[in-house]
Subunit: 358 residues, 4 copies
């Protein structure tokens, strides 16, 4: 039990069910004296908003975050920051017919097996909605990181089998701000166009699409990360894999290292820095000052209109077609969630390192 | 700081440097009444022994584990189990010439940046040797799991670019015990032969090879894993990524989900169970009763004889050729380490679930 | 940082400042299937309400708790329970004149030294108001304990130097429900009368009074508590000392053991149980099945009208007389807070023990 | 389970049974670059040695500590420091007759109820011997504190009902080094003499004595301690109460505050500092820069020769007289243990505060 908290010094606890009264996060350990407003947090939440892509399907009303504690006269005080987002526009009635059914690819079956009781409305605690609380907490972390010149950004690396051209994937040439104008947060306009038509096709088929998000961290100093279990890559992998949609995480060259030789994989060092970045900015679990590069594989959204085979709580076979307001892909909405998780982990390790150098 | 402990109820703390007096682990939270002998732990340690493959390079003397506490008359007592392995046959002199050099791909540079001081002999705390303590602790976890009928096993999925044929990779047909006779712990004899010649080639070139290990868990009941940050896949990913050599982790279909549609990725449910296992045995972060399937990407060993470009602690460029006793690949030695990390995480979650159902 | 969470499996995080928007608690790890209503929590909150004693001084409006998550159709689900109490009737203007002054006996000076910033209104995070969140969380714990037949209750042992007669203090004869009718939660009517006149006198003098609360736990099974640092008495002492007003904690015979011999202090065992209870129900940090008996010393409320000598933030001496709505003693309001902390600790250990026996 | 670890950043895990192969501690999170030798740790261990007082009863051979990891060329590296003390001179045979008996005042009964299995020899894990590992770990903490000018010292405040004269108890005039020459670590020569004859008398009676230890911390900066559960007094109380012998903890004026008025209890502030120290150096759970003053009540040693009534594991009444090598009082041996626990907690909070100010 008690799995809703992450972090050692910078600790985030999220709470809330998709169709309960509200969701929220408590952020403990934020350093004092940092300017923080609801507007800044809201900005990240907007990037995660349902229906951000041209789609008729999502909840219409934006999530409005409130800061309930931890700030005074616009600045953090070092005390817990409580963030709340009330659930509005929640149409629970739509889930009445699903209450006894284990939807494939969802937590319905496992929550039932674990707890013997669950809020079936919209996935309850297992809903993607919970990630809004992560994004809100991540926005606080982002402020701490920015004070030290550390930037966390993510973009769409692949969607529905369409990958960004390798020439665009070089971290060094990405201009995230421009990409944000672009609905898919994708730096390659050609790929982007193909992704959009693939999305359209999947929507017509009542199906959904998976994809890959790459997260890049710039300006991170060397020295963050703890041997041996709390390596920074271990904590990042754990934090990203805790996003329901993520089925794989890789750092730097990632799975490609499996086919490399040591002389290919090792990044040569010079006085000007590393000549390559297969390490993804992390050596022996500690940041080396280079860009941190992480990729996550996102599975297609499980709720699809296409008919699926499953069973219900009484052990009867069921043919299921999930109707209602569903995105075709978690991308691009998952992007700020990935950034949030990376920001939370980095902030925690930044503070932990201060305990050594402070 | 303080990153050498993993787990909430079943907690493992490792300690020790490669060329210090000893390495070890303290296992807290092991349930009482479990039979445990040094011989059982030793068995897993043998599988991780350097020079297990036909190679002249490794430390000759096996690691001998001692149980210093936590058992009485051959049974665990519920109190911390202290395991120690003294460092024998450590040839520290060989590292004297490396003491000021940052070896590429190693923790030399980052430890220096983090702590300002480090034991340069054999990688110190960042040495792969630390994983022996994990294997010893994992052997204790394995005993707890076996009592509940849960088996954890891993095998070589790919090495040096040679992959096991997909027909062999079906978890259902693997007989681990047979594979153990096989030096590479690889179920595909043809692939195995090619891997061996690839290893030989790399050795001749003074180079090293990466690979992929697949870990499979059988007999795991549904219900293990905690929403939302301590999902079982999150904890597994973090634990496996904490192995120095690992650069990627994927669950079930893993990165392949990125190219799937929802109707392909979702595992249909029937009264007889799931019709496929893209989920890798985990739904919404909780085990679903199916086999847990995880793959990790292992980078090539960083210490190679081939000349590499780097710098030293004084900021001077250096050409480095690492001589000495080095394996060509972490595979197969890393296999019991992967099993250990998975066993430790599962045991922790097994106990956490008992707090709910108990 | 990050000190607002307590517990390992049953975890409580509180947040909120006295004059911020709200205060609250997140309760993680509550077992599923327990009936829980706002009314039940409210009942404990009423017992902690300011102005519960005949006094004109307190906030008039009661604290209203809302359950924002973690329950479904009136039952807990195993997911985090978020509890919120909005701050109403907060008269912040009254604190304007105190904003630069370090009030003696309060956290004004130490928060300023620690964080460099603080919400001076009503003590901010250091306010006794924070304990309302503890009481709310404790009410959840109480439900878990009651399911196992464990009852936690506390009463006034001493107030303003007036002690309950030893004949009344025997745990076995206390009828808490009767006492609750009594404003001071004191089983000795004679002592009670004297306490009341002592309170009246202190109020007239613009002064305040300290006292002693005894907490008793009935029905606790043997076996709760973990060697060696998480002994149940260690966790209870830490939890109770975390109440701002508490300056001392003792278990069983407590400080009196210092003057005893071993033959006096040891509780003889018989087949019918222990012949005495100097141990206070705890042996070697583990419950022995007997009543748990704990006493805490509460200091007088620091905010008094009587003139006190202090300094301000600019380093100037100040004569301070604190006016406004202040109780004369934390007793009896602190009683449900003590019960809450004990309930939270016991619930955590109850779940931890289930992981062993489950 | 898992209760053998204390601390958040500076973490100590102890392990070992009284008559197992060894006992030890792993110290995680010690900052790098601190000189540390076995000799320094040994010095504190000597102060805890059995038979330090004129008594024929104790194990003759001193405990020899070895540093197995975490230091390099005499300095800490930031990695876990593993400390081991082998058990020598352990006469297990003496315990054979006790193996089925629940000794009054000991953990025999509760360990049996908790785990169903226990090492009966010398109390096993519940033995006071475990505190040697705490003292060793505390010696590391002491080094961290001394670097910042923080000194932790303790002395005998009362023994067998004889209290140090109040004129000697003023923290300001104590010279601990002188006291160390004195077997009882007691600053009052008259009281000391009476304590010694009281000890002699108890020994003759086959009985034992309790007492009070006062711990004083000098040079502690303001700002250490975390609201609201990890208050420094909460953590200190928990840490001290985790010593098996301790039944009460009080800070500053402690239980005496219960009889005070607010105008008596509050410490007036001036530009030169606080005019009194009823707070014991802690306000709202955070150090205020004044001396930290804590007292603990120690119960008489439970193992006495005097005949006691108890039962055995088969449910039969037994008359028990414990013979063998037992001290008459835990004082003065418990003094370095108290210092160790306070040092460990302060070091943890010192590092946590660096994360804010660093």
């Amino acid at each position: 039990m008690s799995g809703s908290t992450i972090g050692v010094l910078f600790k985030v606890t999220t709470w809330g069910e998709s169709h309960g009264r509200a969701i929220g996060a408590v952020v403990e350990g934020c350093p004092p004296g940092i300017e923080l407003s609801e507007g800044e947090i809201q900005k990240d939440l907007e990037r995660r908003r349902p229906g951000r892509m041209t789609s008729a399907s999502a909840r219409r009303e934006g999530d409005l975050v409130e800061i309930l504690s931890g700030t005074f006269e616009g600045k953090t005080m070092g005390t817990p920051i409580s963030l709340i987002i009330y659930n509005r526009d929640a149409d629970s009635g739509a889930y009445e017919s699903l209450k006894d059914i284990f939807r494939p690819g969802q937590g319905d079956f496992t929550y039932f097996k674990k707890y013997g009781i669950r809020d079936y409305r919209g996935g309850g605690r297992a809903s993607g909605r919970e990630t809004a609380a992560r994004v809100a907490a991540g926005a606080v972390a982002r402020k701490v990181l920015l004070r030290e010149g550390i930037e966390v950004m993510a973009y769409t690396k692949a969607l529905g089998g369409i990958a960004v051209s390798p020439s665009f994937s070089t971290a060094g040439i990405i201009f995230l701000k421009d990409m944000d104008e672009n609905g898919l947060v994708c730096p390659d306009p050609d790929a982007c166009k193909k992704m959009e038509s693939r999305l359209e096709e999947a929507r017509r088929n009542g199906d959904s699409l998976g994809g890959i998000v790459e997260i890049i961290v710039r300006g991170c100093p060397p020295g963050l990360g703890e041997p041996v279990f709390d390596k920074i890559d271990a904590d990042l992998a754990g934090a990203l894999m805790s996003i329901g949609t993520v089925k794989g995480v890789e750092i730097g060259a990632g799975f490609a290292v499996a086919g490399m030789t040591g002389s290919q994989a090792n990044d040569p060092m010079t006085l000007e820095g590393f000549l390559s970045n297969n390490a993804g900015g992390i050596l022996a679990g500690i940041t080396n000052g280079d860009e941190i590069v992480i990729r996550v594989a996102c599975k297609p959204i499980s709720s699809i209109e296409k008919v699926q085979q499953t069973i219900d709580v009484h052990g009867k076979p069921v043919e299921l077609s999930v109707k209602g307001r569903h995105d075709v892909s978690v991308i691009p909405r998952i992007i700020p969630v990935c950034e949030a998780m990376v920001s939370i982990v980095l902030t925690d390790h930044l503070l932990r390192q201060k305990a050594i150098t402070g």
